[in-house]
Symmetry: D4
């Protein structure tokens, strides 16, 4: 930062830059610096990263207005946790919006996504599908190729083992599981990839809305597994994509 | 019970039995009946069942006295959750007592145990061993052959799969696991036997003294798994032996 | 497995089997082996075991399609946690489906069930009935005779004691209880049979959706009691039936 | 109240009432009123009630000093949760102090206790004894006859049933239980007396230091059971004695 | 019981009673004995005690049928947790049923209730009223005079202190409180009566459906306070009435 | 106190003090003293403090009646947690009532509020707005100037830092946050003002209805942060206003 | 900040300040600005504020070194949660250190403290004393007069009421309470001052290390009560002092 | 795998390989395949990965024996959660073992580690150091350059902001925090790197052994943060190193 400062000051001294303009530049430096860093990294690492609206807890009007605003300067915008009702209203204002119903995501994609690398999203039961799809669609829109492995569960290990090759060719693995949440440990014992575990609130009785799966995943005897919040497919997809793109960026 | 009553009353009527004696017989009937049923079943199903002392929370003197009393009418007595210190003192009074140190069980065995059938006790980590051994020794002393499978864990599935034959030839399977408690679900997906899952308090961080493993096991996606209390190897061994002997009794 | 491998290889060497065919056989060995074992046991021990669909969290279409698929190769299929609405729609496609309303189970039974042995299902209050019936119907359809003892509760011990004979003549006992969950302990003190305890979410105030009954059952002072998840009548019925059939299979 | 005050003051002014008498009337008006009422009730209902020191969390010196102070104006003083070490030191200053070791209570009793009525204290296991004795000794020193029924547990109902007569002849019943905490419900189903349930922290695994027993007791399906805090034998004994004495006071 | 047995046996011996009849008498003895004891106590202590139906979790038909049955042999029957809709339907079958709307209790009272003694029911907020009324109406219908003190709360102590006389003239006090649940401790510091504390689920934020008030009451620094389950006004009213009647019975 | 009473009475007797004056002195002695003190402080410190109705859990009629009553002697009355439906009905009876929809507060303001000092209300997300507005409107109506800082969050620190001046010129700061509840710690590291933290139930997954934010705030590494109940904007606004007015009162 | 920037830049332009020096000034601006603000406020509002070391979890050497460092530029330094052993070792290096044993605070005070205003610290039991003293000593050393009211508890309201005058003359009140944590609500009903409630881990049974008191305080029905973490007397003293000094600063 | 199988079979057919040898190769295939994959990935991605012993819960002898065994075929072996006492005994057998005392790690390093890329390990307080060091040493021994940033905390943001450059030049960031666990959210708002959050059990009062920090981190409003178990520095270091090496491997 010292260099940046020197440069501005020297221009002030020489009169190349007016004091008022220098004030403006300097004033935003500390934050813009932060922002810059972020942008820099975003540009270098995650370029084309879309803006995200968390729809839950917002009114239909709020979501539509925020999206219209974001679209002024962004080519990709997504809204997560979006109902079909929300989508239908939003489409009146933004006709090119598309809806991923399993993932409950509304997306406006006004540029091509050049997907790279590979993220695996695995889950066992049909009830975990919405969370798994939220993760998968998020990673895809953000720039990752995603391979879905949805027909696996600890109660039928052979199906999981049959698909190990798919895991081996990925950069990151997202494992979504409810109930006893054992799948990440089992997958983690079979492959040596970063695993992002997503507990789901799927289950009955003493699962306490996903707490059972969450605790299982945190207590995994397999190292290299990190956990996001219950049902938070978006955060898992975001993180997996970030790691995947970092690996692929450096590949060149 | 009606027959039993009729029999006594007829003997009273004929004078074969005195009223006082009949009173004694009748008075204990309702409870003796209960007891009888139990004894009957014990005799028919679990014969040779030893008496059990839960040592934890009892003084050394209390354990020794209870054991001396029980030995007056029992040929097999065991004390669970017993320390080696307790054993050393007890041995002064009961020289033929033996100590299973991993299982923390003191046993006095004054008759041969004819073991039948097979119970598998499986666990993953060395830290689960005390609980697994408590289950195994309990089942053995009560009359079951026990096969220990202690080198398996969900982080190394191939070792588990290598030993499936041992599971297939058993009548009941006890699975002991701490941390994420995933082993019962994985075993349950591979075999079709009654599984008794024992969560252990082994683990760190958010395992909450075994709660994590307990919830995992209760929420297993595999049916046919029942759970006993955290670290309660004795109850698992007791129940597994009961089922194993029932099956074997009927085999003849 | 060594023998199996040797056999195949010798046939390859002698040309009895083509390499391509041997590859096919070998490739599925590890999993088919697992599956085989399962099938073997299912065939030997639990023959006629029906396929099960867990309806909760699935759409009506999903349940109907899965059931239609399963019926292509299965003669008995059941769907648990099924509403009457689901049943009415499903019946349009599968007219011979029947509905057990208390148990909330849809069943298609295209072969006779030869029931064996006996499972007792006991519960205290009318509010526990749906869970108890789920356990009972499950065990019946899977091949067990079931005796229901629904008029017992710890607040009226004499009714329980009156029915002890029914418990004595069973192979396994399922005890369903909500609120303080004391019934399994009381029953366990009176009989010497494997007891599967099912806590229910029935209750008010500090019962925390069944946690109170669950903890009671796990902490029972009576050994030989194993617990399934809150309200999980299906798993209890499944396990009880498995034990019951094992005992009866061996009886011959 | 203004009128009440005016009335008294006018009588003072006219001399109709002496200043001393007015003081007495006025003084008890606000807090003395409270105190008076309390004293009145104590005098009428619980006369001879001793002073109580809760030793836990206090230093030896603090307990001795408080007790010496209380003994200046009280003939009965007790200290609960007192260790034997504390007792030995205290005895140097108060030689007539006695120690109830099971109850962990130090008592100085300088007047005869005329016990009335009957309180039953029931518990199942030896591990619950300290809490049961704290309840029993408290009630005895405060003026109740206490009958201990310590050989009962839900795993052996006949022993409980054998002793029902003792329950029938009491005014109040204290039931102390750890683990699954089922005893109060079972007792409550057999007798129609006020039951004070005391959960104990006795147990293992998922008993959570008495939470299991506490929840059981709160969720009892039997009405007429009230619960005190975990291990709080003193409060149970205090309340039982209060009810017992109320009944007996009125008997005359 | 010995005498009872002797009597029957002697009649058998003399032929005064047939063996078959003696069997019938003996067979029901153990339970009838229990029942007898209960009836005896009910008759002696709580005579006129009504039958109670817990409506919650029962269908309208079930409640009506149970009540019609109970009315065949009872003059007083109540149903708790009853909605007004339930009452309106029930009234078609039982026209003399009355409804206490605040208490959500349906009652059929076909005999006069001679109320005795006094139970105080105190609560602070209007939101606690349904629980307080459930306790009050229960105690009244079971035979106690009830004084309601509903305008008190720890935030306005003077109103509580103003009404202390009402507390002093009662035999038992029920204190109903939600939120921080402090009222029982404060009342317990002012009066020397048995206090039954009822936590309510009233509150917001971190009250966890009454857990906050429940823990407060269990941890009261004032001895002599016992607690029933959250919102369980019925159990509190039942117990308070039982104590109140015991005191009054003995008064004569 | 006896001396105090004697002194007054003797002065009454001698006529040194009039009966009316003595009444005044005596009357405030016990509870009036309390009330008086409160009024005194209210008058001195928080003058113009409005009456508050907590609408949640009350019927529309109850709220309207209470408000009509309060308005007889109060010039400012507010009802919190009030729906728009409630407001519309209430307006028929109290036409000058106004509604703050974000804060869900109904207010009747029949005197000018002279606002003093400054309270800052900060929050991050739009979902926290209702709680923040409840705090803000409460403080405003009670007499504080309020500055809202709603565009800040720990994920975008520069926006927070940009607004530090606003914090520096306040007397008290209310920080409202859901999810991880980190904002109060961050603000507390930047400013040296009393901070009242309000956790909100906003969030998903393992936030447990605000428990996550509540625990964060209680465990803040920054001293000088005090916490109110989850979602309790009213209490935060009330306390902040009280501190703010105390500072401002003394300013003169 | 714009002015500050302009000033520096103009000096750069005129050569009054060298570029290197300007860089140093500018670089440090954004954070120094924050720091400045803090210092400014500290200077303006809480002048003489001491530095604080949290001893728990630090080695003796670490505490001594940190304190020696802080004393180079501070005249008042305190270490909280300090054992007497720590104090004795520290005294060898810092002979003028003093120890407040009840509060477990080591202090070095090399300037006079001019105490202002008044903070009341109230608690009920002797077991709460360490936490209360930590709060009191903290507030005193930071510059507040503190009045301790330690002989009050909800079980003896008259003692509390007797001391209300002391509360009325304070600016802030700290209420420390364990067990049921009711004291803040009761105090809050009697006075109109900001109340900082400190739950303590004092208690037994179901108090869960202070959770019971914490929930009580958070759920208080009295507004104007804010809560700090369990046993965190320091934070309460810090906040109370901050409010007290703000009020007093403005008094002049 | 098909190719692998064909190859072996063809060699069998041609006699190039004996049947016995083929059996050995085939038998091991399914698991070795898994293992191979792991090794392959380990070789390709994480080459030189050391073996790890979790010392906690193991005896000194067990750790020494396991380490001696591992050293037969490994050049790098580490033991985590190792005490200094353990190290001293182990050193007698393995003299080249070294001890990282802050990290509590014993390491035997018999080959050079060529570190690549950069992992940042950040934490705030000295109490978090052991966990942070466990993460840092783990990542270093496994092959990552690690930059420690230990002087940052949310209470002093400027120190954090001062060091942002260090974060920007890393591939992964580990953030270790106890108490309110806010640091990962704040860091996540400033940088766009994968963040692995490690909650620590450091804290007091209502932190519940790290639950407070764990919940904060799971509920972070910043996406891209994944969480490992409380105090599990090893797992965080393992995962961070895995991601870091993947990025660096691909860089070439």
């Amino acid at each position: 930062m010292r260099e940046k400062l020197r440069e501005i000051l020297e221009k002030v001294k020489t009169g190349e830059v007016s004091i008022e303009k220098a004030i403006d530049e300097l004033r935003i430096l500390p934050y813009e610096d932060l922002g810059y860093a972020k942008v820099d990294h975003l540009r270098g690492v995650i370029k084309g990263f879309p803006e995200v609206i968390f729809s839950q807890g917002k009114t239909t009007d709020q979501v539509i207005n925020i999206m219209l605003n974001l679209l002024k300067i962004n080519k990709r915008v997504i809204a997560t946790r979006a109902s079909f009702e929300l989508y239908e209203k939003l489409k009146e204002y933004i006709p090119d919006a598309i809806y991923f119903d399993k993932a409950r995501i509304i997306a406006v994609l006004r540029e091509d996504i050049k997907k790279k690398g590979k993220v695996v999203v695995a889950c066992a039961g049909t009830a975990d599908l919405p969370v798994a799809e939220e993760a998968a669609i998020t990673a895809e829109i953000m720039g990752s190729n995603v391979e879905r492995i949805y027909d696996v569960g600890v109660a039928g290990l052979h199906r999981l083992i049959d698909q190990l090759d798919k895991f081996y060719s990925s950069n990151v693995v997202i494992v979504v599981a409810g109930m006893e949440g054992a799948l990440p440990s089992v997958v983690g014992g079979l492959i040596a990839k970063p695993i992002i575990a997503v507990p789901t609130s799927v289950g009955y009785g003493a699962n306490f809305n996903g707490l059972s799966a969450l605790l299982s995943m945190l207590n995994s005897c397999v190292p290299g597994i990190a956990v996001v919040n219950i049902d938070n497919g978006f955060s898992a997809g975001y993180l997996a994509n970030m790691i995947n793109l970092m690996v692929e960026e450096n590949r060149k």
